[in-house]
Symmetry: C2
DNA sequence: CCTGTTAGGTTGCAATATGAAACTAACTAG
DNA sequence: CTAGTTAGTTTCATATTGCAACCTAACAGG
């Protein structure tokens, strides 16, 4: 009970911890990346990711339960199930892109494929960056952590 | 050998997978969040995060080996070690912020503390968003995945 | 100097998670 | 009907996590 209470306190204090409860491990991230890249069906995920079937089944179920993916049975073939990103799941795009760009720069050392472009201009999206309220990218020394009570103006 | 080869192929193909090799699990993320929030010492991480000492030791060592944290022994007290983010580690800020904002919106349902502000204006940073090359936020239906060879212009 | 405290670990072992491979149920196509 | 397909489920060996105790080196104070 004390553990549960501390757990809840942690969740209240930190949204990262809350987020990590649902997506905080490697296979979930990779499944999400697959979903963003157009994978839908169990076998697609399994063969593309090379993930054990029981782990895939477990993670898919968890992502569905968390509301990140939804399970769409195919009316024309009752065996087939499409797993699709929900609004909640789609909102993870900045996370995935940030992670990808970091990986490109610091781990893989190469750019990867496919790339995300602005449909209208066909130009690649900008690198994910911390920006001020007007959209100007901020350098790290321009940033500061403050207590929420010290905010200059209330922002939604 | 075949597994190793496939593993390498996956890393080459996807920078997210490469990134997840180093930060792809819950405790690493939470340690990084702690580091961004000013934690430095073993005991600080341990008591703040409530993480098992052996897991903390293992993760810290891994993050140091990956070049994300560096290990700074204190010259005035040789027992003490400060773990600090490297350039590589600091570059994970967009990942952590994206994740945090996602968690605030979809999991915790509340805003968390501390918050990141522009030092000059004291205004809160903008939500992480996917933006075009000029910095304009893009909606999801404005985005498209293309093969790198189809890029309209070469961008660094 | 000795004793107690501190800091950063390490160790042993139980519980839990992962992964390989086989199996199953339901469905579809010919 | 048979054979193949799809999405899982199960079994069991291996790996990882977590609890709690322990250890070592360094320090502080009397």
């Amino acid at each position: 009970m004390l553990d549960l209470e501390r757990h809840r306190e942690l969740l209240r204090q930190c949204s990262i911890a809350a987020a990590l409860e649902t997506v905080g491990e490697r296979w979930s991230f990779l499944i999400l990346r697959g979903a963003f890249n157009g994978l839908h069906h169990f076998e697609e995920f399994q063969s593309t990711l090379g993930i054990a079937r029981n782990i895939l089944s477990n993670r898919l179920a968890r992502l569905v339960e968390s509301g990140i993916l939804k399970r769409d049975p195919d009316p024309t073939d009752r065996r087939r199930v499409a797993y699709r990103l929900t609004e909640k799941g789609l909102d993870l795009l900045p996370v995935l892109l940030s992670l990808r760009q970091w990986g490109e720069r610091w781990v893989a050392g190469t750019s990867s494929n496919p790339v995300l472009v602005d449909r209208a201009t066909r130009r690649q999206i900008a690198p994910m960056a911390v920006r001020d309220a007007d959209g100007r990218p901020l350098q790290r020394d321009e940033l500061e952590w403050v207590d929420r009570s010290e905010l200059k103006d209330k922002q939604a």
